[in-house]
């Protein structure tokens, strides 16, 4: 479909870039913030920053669901693993640093930690070994949380429990919009999160905060057109919510997925690594599912974690306040092989993406 429908047509790219250059020419510095690791990947992989004029800057916000998991939650998974419970985790999560160890580090010390592609595989594994306890590390935003809800409603096997680390994106975007020392002129809203939650939750950004907001897809042209749409709003002074990703996102979102989330989870205040506590940003299991909570099933000592190692600037990178290359550790003591901060770990982490594809601008 992608090829047939010319989603990567170079001629279209040339035309839209020309339009962006023309529109931005009389403008002062324009800062556009996105909040999705996949958008950052598209932007760096296709070199989109090099196509933009010098006065249009695209900055990466907190769009990586594993980068923002507090170290304490990694520590708790490790504690559980050391008690003999097998931890089933997504691949990008196992290298995220806890206070002193990552899950991978714990594995090297003998803990049983296994990578799964999907919760489906986690359930299969638990069913196959009924005498062994398994805990699934359920991380991710609104894109991933519905699958956790679905499997909980399907009743997982008795020997399976969940470490719930799901977070919600719009509350973090509100925090960004309210930060006094960080200003940006437009938001590219996350496309895949929006397939679940729809356009509705973003209305507040143009109306209340006066920030042009465009939900965008993940082809390079999607991002370029969304940048143009933001610039066009800045020019006309009419700030609104626009949908560039019409092929996947509608006003209501995935109502089926939202209903499942409501059945299984409560919303509570939640801690984000590098951002502190964000109001109404975390999903917690409702009481009727408490037998599947690893925290209820096992005795996990809760301690305060160390989110930032000395010198690490992840907390400034994830709000887009500095670029990865502004961090003194970037590609020196902190690299993909030896990540110091969470942003260097995941393929969705801004530092990791920059380490592979770009060092400047």
């Amino acid at each position: 479909m992608v090829q047939n429908l010319k989603f990567r047509d170079s001629n279209l790219t040339k035309q839209i870039v020309k339009k962006i250059l023309k529109l931005a020419k009389p403008m002062d510095l324009v800062k556009i913030c996105h909040v999705c690791g996949t958008h950052e990947w598209t932007i760096t992989h296709y070199g989109l920053r090099s196509l933009l004029p010098a006065n249009v800057e695209v900055i990466a916000g907190p769009g990586c669901p594993v980068c923002i998991i507090p170290a304490a939650e990694i520590d708790e998974a490790i504690q559980l693993a050391l008690q003999g419970v097998v931890i089933l985790s997504f691949g990008d999560l196992v290298r995220v640093p806890g206070s002193s160890l990552s899950l991978q580090g714990a594995k090297a010390k003998g803990a049983d930690i296994r990578v799964v592609y999907s919760l489906i595989d986690a359930v299969k594994t638990a069913k196959k070994h009924p005498d062994q306890e398994f805990a699934f590390f359920a991380a991710g935003f609104e894109t991933t949380a519905p699958s956790t809800a679905l499997e909980l409603l399907n009743i997982p096997p008795k020997n399976m429990s969940f470490l719930i680390s799901h977070r919600l994106v719009p509350p973090a975007m509100i925090l960004l919009a309210e930060l006094e020392d960080l200003t940006f002129d437009g938001i590219i809203a996350p496309g895949h999160v929006s397939t679940t939650i729809g356009l509705k939750p973003y209305g507040v950004f143009p109306t209340h905060y006066g920030i042009p907001t465009v939900v965008a897809g993940f082809e390079p042209l999607d991002v370029l057109f969304s940048i143009f749409m933001i610039l066009r709003q800045l020019k006309t002074g009419v700030f609104q919510l626009e949908n560039e990703y019409i092929r996947a996102v509608n006003w209501d979102g995935n109502l089926k997925a939202q209903a499942l989330l409501k059945q299984v989870f409560h919303v509570a205040d939640g801690k984000w690594r590098g951002l502190g506590t964000i109001r109404s940003s975390k999903l917690i299991l409702k009481n009727r599912f408490s037998q599947f909570s690893a925290y209820k099933k096992f005795d996990i000592p809760l301690k305060k974690g160390v989110d930032l190692q000395p010198g690490c600037k992840c907390h400034l990178v994830i709000i887009g306040k500095i670029k990865p290359s502004d961090c003194p550790l970037f590609m020196k003591t902190c690299s993909p092989a030896n990540p110091v901060g969470a942003c260097m770990v995941s393929n969705e982490g801004t530092c990791r993406i920059w380490s592979k594809m770009s060092f400047s601008k």
């Binding site: 691949g91 919760l119 699958s147 057109f225």
Partner: protein, 76 residues
């Protein structure tokens, strides 16, 4: 590396109950859970960590191109 956050389009080639066989193109096929969406054989879906999270309609894909062309044709 196996990452969770990427969502990838794929085409449904067959399904049984909640499980569909999908074609990601370039010879990659996989079974995915389709209970979060209402999808049929031949539909393009967005797959995220083994679950379909949305149906991509060809009509709406064409709408995207229409939107782009409108922007490009716009008088300045």
């Amino acid at each position: 590396m196996i990452t969770m956050c990427l969502a990838i389009p794929a085409k449904i080639t067959s399904f049984e109950g909640e499980t569909a066989k999908v074609d990601f193109g370039e010879g990659v096929s996989r079974e995915v859970n389709i209970s979060l969406v209402n999808a049929n054989i031949g539909d393009y879906i967005l797959v995220h960590a083994g679950y379909a999270i949305q149906v991509l309609s060809e009509k709406d894909a064409l709408e995207t191109l229409k939107l782009w062309n409108e922007i490009l044709d716009m008088a300045e």
